[in-house]
């Protein structure tokens, strides 16, 4: 037990610096990036429902003034949108592997 205590402390320390509260500007930037990716996914006709939900959650949190959660949700939306774009591009060829021949 004795040795693991300092280890836990060390871990806590390294997360501390970037935990300052996100402000409105951070949220706006994150949301803009998420929305761009989401538009691209829709353009590829491969939007995910969870992306849309994350975007709505981000907006809702931002309206409520909770920019921490809003920024996190916007980043989540961006990640999901990017994944759906990646899926659409890879599937352009990958589908043939499953085709019954």
């Amino acid at each position: 037990m004795k040795r693991s205590l300092p280890l836990a402390m060390l871990l806590a320390l390294c997360f501390a610096p970037n935990a300052r509260a996100a402000n409105e500007a951070d949220y706006k930037a994150a949301f803009a990036a998420a929305e761009a990716a989401s538009k691209e996914a829709t353009g590829l006709r491969n939007q995910w429902t969870v992306t849309v939900q994350a975007l709505t959650a981000a907006k809702k949190a931002a309206d409520g003034g909770d920019f921490d959660r809003a920024t996190a949700a916007a980043k989540e939306a961006e990640a999901l949108a990017k994944a759906s774009i990646f899926q659409a591009n890879t599937e352009k060829e990958a589908w043939k592997a499953m085709e019954i021949r």
Binding site: Q47, W48, T49, A79, Q87, E91, A97, M98, R101
Partner: protein
């Protein structure tokens, strides 16, 4: 947060590379050959389920599970789509405001023709499904179109399907490059993975028909549209082909496209063509 996205992308690409390496199949020259595709498609299911009678595939999950089939046969004695059928019959004979009826829009008065839909309209250069043709008929006669996912459309297609019961599916692909392209586009849609769950239609209906996803038994893809439209206990109501496509998409967490958009019409064209020869069994009752 940044690490999270790259992690996600990394895992996806790694999975793909592994996947590509394992599939030894050489990608055949990409000449679209519907006849060969249909033969291969049907043989795949006939070999995978040797003791299922060929025409029984159109009964979807009921061809895969005896206990479920018994529940279905009990329901078929007095099926829940009875009301939609009667409503459809009545709507079919009720004239529009201009005195015309649906019979005037369709060959043979709309009776016993469902097995030829969808067809490729060479003038339009696109696939025309039964639901689309019905709404076009309404609009041509000054009537507002019906929603593709609601009861009125389901009642109309239920009646038209009923008049074709037992007739083998008979979809034609004219020798027109655009028709071949539509067929190929439908095939691509069928095998393309989508949604956060990363499923394609084939993931469920080709790789694991007969198996359960929770309470439901997965239907084989062969003849999966022959029973449309269906009364689903799940919806406790009628469902058109459009409604089925839209709900399947949202189950894999993919945002559905507009009903009757090109992809849906093409995948209906593909699935109907590869089921040529199997009987129409609509309207159907499903879990």
């Amino acid at each position: 947060m940044k690490t999270r996205t790259s992690l996600l992308l990394g895992s996806l690409s790694a999975a793909l590379v592994a996947f590509a390496l394992t599939s030894p199949r050489v990608v055949a020259a990409d000449k679209v050959d519907p006849v060969a595709d249909a033969k291969a498609f049907q043989n795949f299911f006939f070999q995978k389920f040797p003791d299922v009678k060929h025409e029984d595939f159109v009964n979807g999950p009921y061809s895969m599970n005896a206990d479920l089939k018994r529940q279905w046969q009990e329901k078929e004695e007095f099926p829940p789509y009875e009301f939609a059928l009667d409503a459809g019959k009545e709507m079919f004979s009720t004239p529009f405001k201009n005195g015309k009826t649906y019979a005037d829009c369709f060959p043979n008065g709309g009776i016993g023709i469902r097995q030829n839909y969808p067809y490729f309209d060479e003038k339009d250069g696109k696939v025309v499904t039964l639901e689309l043709a019905l709404n076009r008929c309404r609009e041509a006669n000054g009537e507002p179109p019906y929603s593709y996912v609601k009861d009125e459309m389901a009642s109309l297609t239920a009646y038209m399907a009923f008049t074709s019961r037992g007739k083998p599916m008979d979809i034609k692909i004219p020798d027109d490059p655009r028709a071949l392209e539509a067929f190929e586009n439908g095939k691509r849609y069928f095998y393309t993975r989508r949604g956060q769950l990363n499923f394609s239609c084939a993931s469920c209906h080709v790789q694991s028909p007969g198996e359960r996803i929770r309470a439901e038994i997965l239907a084989p893809a062969l003849g999966i549209l022959n029973a449309m439209p269906i009364y689903r206990s799940e919806w406790s109501g009628m469902g058109t082909t459009s409604r089925r496509f839209v709900t399947c998409n949202s189950q894999t967490r993919a945002v559905p496209l507009e009903p009757q958009s090109d992809e849906y019409r093409d995948v209906e064209y593909y699935l109907s063509y590869v089921a040529n020869g199997l009987p129409i069994s609509g309207p159907g009752a499903r879990p």
